[in-house]
Symmetry: C2
Subunit: 112 residues, 2 copies
DNA sequence: GCGACATTCAACCGTCTGGTTGATCTTTTC
DNA sequence: GAAAAGATCAACCAGACGGTTGAATGTCGC
């Protein structure tokens, strides 16, 4: 079934740097909430809220196993938004290098 | 020079349906503020604010000629954001059909 | 220069956001 | 079964957002 995730919610979720950083982290592996929160100078509750927003947007899913809640990236939710944007720009095809530069910049990886 | 437009601003600008509709309208042609506002049931001042947000995000440019301010789409500002999103999904290449379906849906073009 | 037009400014309002803290709930561990 | 860990809830706060209205600014046309 075609994703009914509203663009509103997806774009709004992506508009926050903390949430984009979380998504980047989840690219590598699924993570528990506490581990997601670890690199941020912010309360666990704040991270929990961010994860809620990402979940509502369909960008991640959360599964509770025991007392640990695992967060998993759901990149499909990005497809509609991606299609929308490409419709405007008709940009060059996927450029992974550019993307990795972004991740470095966003995660503050410019120091070394 | 590579666009320094912050992803924050671009995604936040895209998170509002009115603003996305405005961008869609500007795909077809440059428009004056009053003409942009015409199809919306909203004050001119509100539209003016939306246009300001789109301008700050770099998604449009505004040029004043006489007493008319012309709005022009600047799709380049979408490139960075598009690259970012594609990095996650590595979706199928540009799908114009899907995009047009979106425009129809978003602009409420289903009524006839 | 006066009136009409195009657009923004300024003040205001209700709501959402992003953060805090402390309490709460569930699950694990001993 | 009590303590500790994982995570959320609840209440609160400052600030931004999306909208309104009315006044102000600037420009065109006569």
């Amino acid at each position: 079934m075609a994703t009914p995730y509203a663009l509103d919610t997806v774009f709004a979720a992506l508009a926050d740097p903390t949430r984009r950083a979380i998504l980047s982290m989840l690219l590598e592996d699924d993570m528990a909430v506490t581990d997601v929160a670890e690199p941020f100078e912010m309360s666990l509750a704040a991270i929990s809220k961010h994860l809620m927003i990402l979940t509502r947007a369909g960008l991640i899913s959360q599964e509770k196993r025991g007392r640990v809640k695992w967060c998993k990236l759901e990149p499909d939710a990005l497809r509609d938004a991606s299609v929308w944007m490409q419709g405007f720009g008709q940009f060059e095809p996927v450029n992974l290098e550019a993307f990795e530069r972004f991740l470095e910049r966003e995660l503050g990886g410019d120091s070394g």
